[in-house]
Symmetry: C3
């Protein structure tokens, strides 16, 4: 690795010191600001004399756990496809997400549940924090393999704040609907990461080209991530919606949309593949686009047919993006997008926002009945027309793209600070830079990894 | 691969065209027929003025998610044990299941929830569709490695219809109980697949013999499938039963039965193994037979002791089946059963049906009290005696075996259509036929794992 | 393997005979004693005329399923890190746990739900049995690779009884609070296993040293275990607490504690690592210490800040334990702790008990309001002061350590019975002793696993 021993030693302290500093800071802020809400506090809960069955926990915790599985198992293993970067993919996901959960509890708490000088927390703050962490991990996907863990923590530090701000503008000021986060999570996370990756552009990255692909078993590990994301996406899009028919409908629409994006991904992958062969990259990623594309509209009266069409389009666009657009993105626009987040989260997120514009614009009192109140409260109260709601939705997408681009640029400048530890061009996508990897020492030359080598020779 | 380049090219279009055709057809049928039910529709839900806590979503969605995990993670990874067929096992499971979910929403909807010209969907249709998909994946296990993806989609197209028809005859006409599907899912799926495999018999299959076993890590991946199936089977058998004590009892009985089949599988595997060694094939599969065998009776008053005995027998029969019966099945009956579905789903499914006959025949007003109404409504109303119910259960098994055999034969004829793409005898159990496998290009010319070698040397 | 063929053959029968014997015994005891409780029995449930929504199933089953996932997927895969012991790690976890679930249903049933000559079972007995099994698997971690499956079953037979007795003394006699089991599960399981490992000390163990490490993919499999334990630990600590705010608060506290232990583990691992590199052993294990350390106090009014501090300390202590204490434990105290359970469960469990002493001692009527009744019933009734409760908590830890040490000693003597099958010093951490491992036969000599064979021969 680059640098004199002394410089290296100094840089090696960045990760532990940053972890300790950030943990110390959030702990102090927790001490000052964070309190149990009336559903988690022993005294407050009993003061209101509720039935235990009414506790929000029973309506949201199963969905929360599915979302939690997606964040840590889903995102963590989806990125394990790289042949020599599995420890970092799953490990840095783990680290960044652990910090982002704490930090976004504070940031989102300030924006959404700050009352009488305190942030009040319960299962909804847990879901919100996991959602925000999802956006951070999407951005991580764009720069995977090219950044050190201290850089990732700094990215999370900045991105969580901008995520909270953007979400506040959309949900509170513009009164836009975006339960599953086509805009606030997917488009925001993707374009933040892509712009950041542009700023960190490495012209000499092909020095690490040979490590950029997968091996047989790393692709199977990645499928663990894919499948857990796929099965639990209905819980993701329904976790924060209104109770009753709202959660139920969001889950159902997402379920249908995902089946369609899976069929279109297989179709398109075989169609554009060499000799009609399927490409694991497409299956691992584009099949999930059906979850992204209904992130805004799943709670609306999208209809099961609408969900199928949306999922089909998203899977198609995403697969074609991997095949044709990702290479151009690097060669022409100098954006090196390791996991192809533009195809899985960027384009489907924008499509999902536009679908939300359409479905909101078509909303009628007839179609929603008394349910209009919970999906589009301003329409129910007569304060907005459906067309006006649609325009607000469209403006919300615009705002999101601005926040993501400005945020990604700032993030890029931050991560380029010269004293920050970053892997050299020839050591990207390589676990050994940051991890003790079994079998790399001389005394282990006859050891475990030697054996695998023999295995392949035989 | 076999065939002239031109013929190959033509065949390569089968998968994408079939995906697009099927997706187009189901989308049109969804547009015409599928509507939200009164629990997922915004207007209908509020029109009835329910409490949100009463929405079926909160009673069934956690169970649904466990079932969904079993279908995609459980079945998907269970079949990854083959050394060179991991991409196909998990990928084709993903593809077939995505299509089967849509198609069975339509087929089962026509049979079970077709009112006023529309199919009404909610969480129960999601569970039903996942159950039907389970049967398709069981059949897939019998022909794994010997069929192409287009063939699998055609099999699903046919099997879903016959599954729906058989289920309709059993549950609606014969009024048979089979909540966890010992008959409708396991016996049906297994014998459909076995008969189909018989029709597709390949005398020259040993050309691919060397790829039919596992390697160390593929066996560990398969254990991911096993364990997820094992832990969530209580949710499978309880997902569609009546609320309250019915779901609770079904889950409890299944939990006990599985512990017993695990103990008997370990005992028998060591007993029949070379030098007393355990066989991963037994552990991965036979330990699950305890879930299959109580599929019919778990919701009945089986008693915890009854669950243990049933599980013990199922694990024993299944393990002995793998050891002694599977080889005979191939050599004498010309049935090549890749995953041994006869041992895991076939025999335990039949045993489970017979156990259902027994437990139904023993049902008394005393044992069930007012709960008789929900488990055996015809007994509660005095329209049937316990013996008569038992006879109907037995007849249900008979009907299922007929449907499965006829269906499997038809399926076999369909899949043998000469223009359908199918791997040659020497290329069975091989991912490269249908997938881009990392490391197969010229620079990696010495075979797929050559790449790993390069990797470790670098 | 050691021993004459005849002796070997005799020993090979131990596992199957013991499985059959134990299964027979528990089945008889189930027949005599185990009955459905009033929530799972068809007649009893309807006799009470409840609303189905009140069935305990809906409040506890989702948490149970998360716990069940932790026991089988979490513990099972966490131990797969050893390069040649994956089949045994996940397989023997599966076997021991299946037996322990049955056996602890009986033992805990006698202690907790024995009325009118019968044990009454439902979802709470399922959770209790899984918890007890957790303790057995923790002890297994200390002796992993050095014991045969028959020995493990005997250990479970003894440990389940002592676990039940210790838990009865703490929860029923001393009226100590320990919902998530910092004492009853983690400290008990760890010290039972460590003392047992001391009795089984192998001075010649370094004959198997070369198999004691991980390989690249085995470390990734272990991360599956880590991540599933991490995400579901909030459900573990909240599964048995009082409904409503109790479950909600326990989950929330655990969630925060785990984020802090993750940050401190990454910080400390890099700080003490060679060249600042992270060690997978630390990440896989110490990051989980935050769940252990709040096992006693998560249901109390710990505050979110308190949870962060507790998690941070636990991650720190655990990581330093792996680095500095584990080697000493072996060289000075002759305790060979394969998985480092002293660092993950032992020290954090003791810390968690002490944290419980502190938080119980600070309990006031003001902080808990009417919720005091459910968390500290004796305080609410005025039968104990907070200080007295704290002293009882401390005494509970002392009792636990006594039970664990005496139990572990007895266990060690039991497992050293000379006729019991146990791997020789040169064959520890080796799957081939107990399993058919793919690639070990001559006919597969040119196959992929030839290399692994070479590896073991080397």
């Amino acid at each position: 690795m680059a640098g004199s021993p002394r410089r290296t030693a100094g840089r090696r302290l960045q990760l532990p010191l940053l972890c300790l500093l950030l943990q110390g800071a959030t702990a102090i802020l927790f001490a000052v600001f964070v309190r149990y809400n009336h559903e988690t506090d022993a005294a407050l809960w009993h003061w209101h004399n509720h039935s235990n069955a009414d506790n929000e926990f029973y309506f949201r915790y199963p969905s929360f756990q599915d979302v939690h599985t997606m964040i840590f198992v889903g995102f963590g293993f989806l990125m394990v496809f790289l042949q020599r970067y599995g420890f970092s993919s799953v490990g840095f996901t783990f680290l960044s997400a652990a910090f982002a959960l704490q930090w976004s509890t504070l940031v989102q708490g300030f924006f959404h549940s700050f009352h009488h000088g305190h942030i009040h927390v319960g299962v909804e703050s847990m879901i919100d924090a996991d959602f925000c962490t999802g956006a951070v991990l999407i951005s991580f996907g764009a720069i995977l393999g090219k950044t050190g863990p201290a850089q990732l923590l700094l990215m999370a530090l900045l991105e969580v704040v901008l995520f909270g701000l953007n979400e506040f503008v959309l949900l509170r000021l513009l009164r836009v609907k975006d339960a599953g986060g086509s805009m606030t999570i997917h488009a925001f996370g993707a374009y933040f990461g892509l712009v950041l990756s542009r700023v960190l552009y490495r012209p000499q990255l092909e020095k690490s080209k040979h490590r950029q692909g997968s091996v047989y078993h790393s692709d199977l590990f990645a499928m663990i991530g894919t499948i857990f994301l796929w099965i639990f996406w209905p819980s993701f899009n329904s976790a924060p919606t209104t109770l009753g028919n709202g959660q139920h409908r969001s889950a159902l629409n997402t379920y249908y949309s995902l089946t369609a994006s899976t069929l279109s991904t297989f179709a398109l992958s075989a169609l554009v593949g060499r000799d009609g062969r399927l490409d694991m990259v497409h299956i691992q990623n584009a099949a999930l686009a059906g979850g992204v594309v209904v992130g805004t509209s799943a709670e609306m009266m999208l209809t099961p047919f609408g969900a199928l069409v949306a999922g089909f389009l998203a899977g198609t666009v995403s697969t074609l993006g991997y095949k044709f657009f990702t290479p151009t993105l690097e060669s022409k626009l100098k954006v090196q997008d390791t996991c192809g987040v533009h195809n899985l989260h960027g384009m489907p997120g924008v499509l999902g926002a536009l679908l939300g514009v359409l479905v909101a614009g078509l909303a009628t009192h007839e179609a929603y009945g008394d349910g209009l109140e919970s999906v589009f409260p301003l329409l129910a109260k007569g304060q907005r027309s459906a067309t006006s709601q649609a325009m607000h939705q469209l403006f919300g997408l615009f705002v999101t793209l601005i926040f993501a681009s400005v945020g990604g640029s700032l993030g890029g400048l931050l991560l380029r600070l010269p004293f920050l530890d970053s892997p050299p061009d020839s050591q990207c996508y390589e676990d050994q830079v940051y991890w003790e990897v079994p079998g790399e020492h001389e005394d282990l030359a006859q050891g475990p990894l030697r054996a695998e080598e023999l295995e392949t020779r035989a």
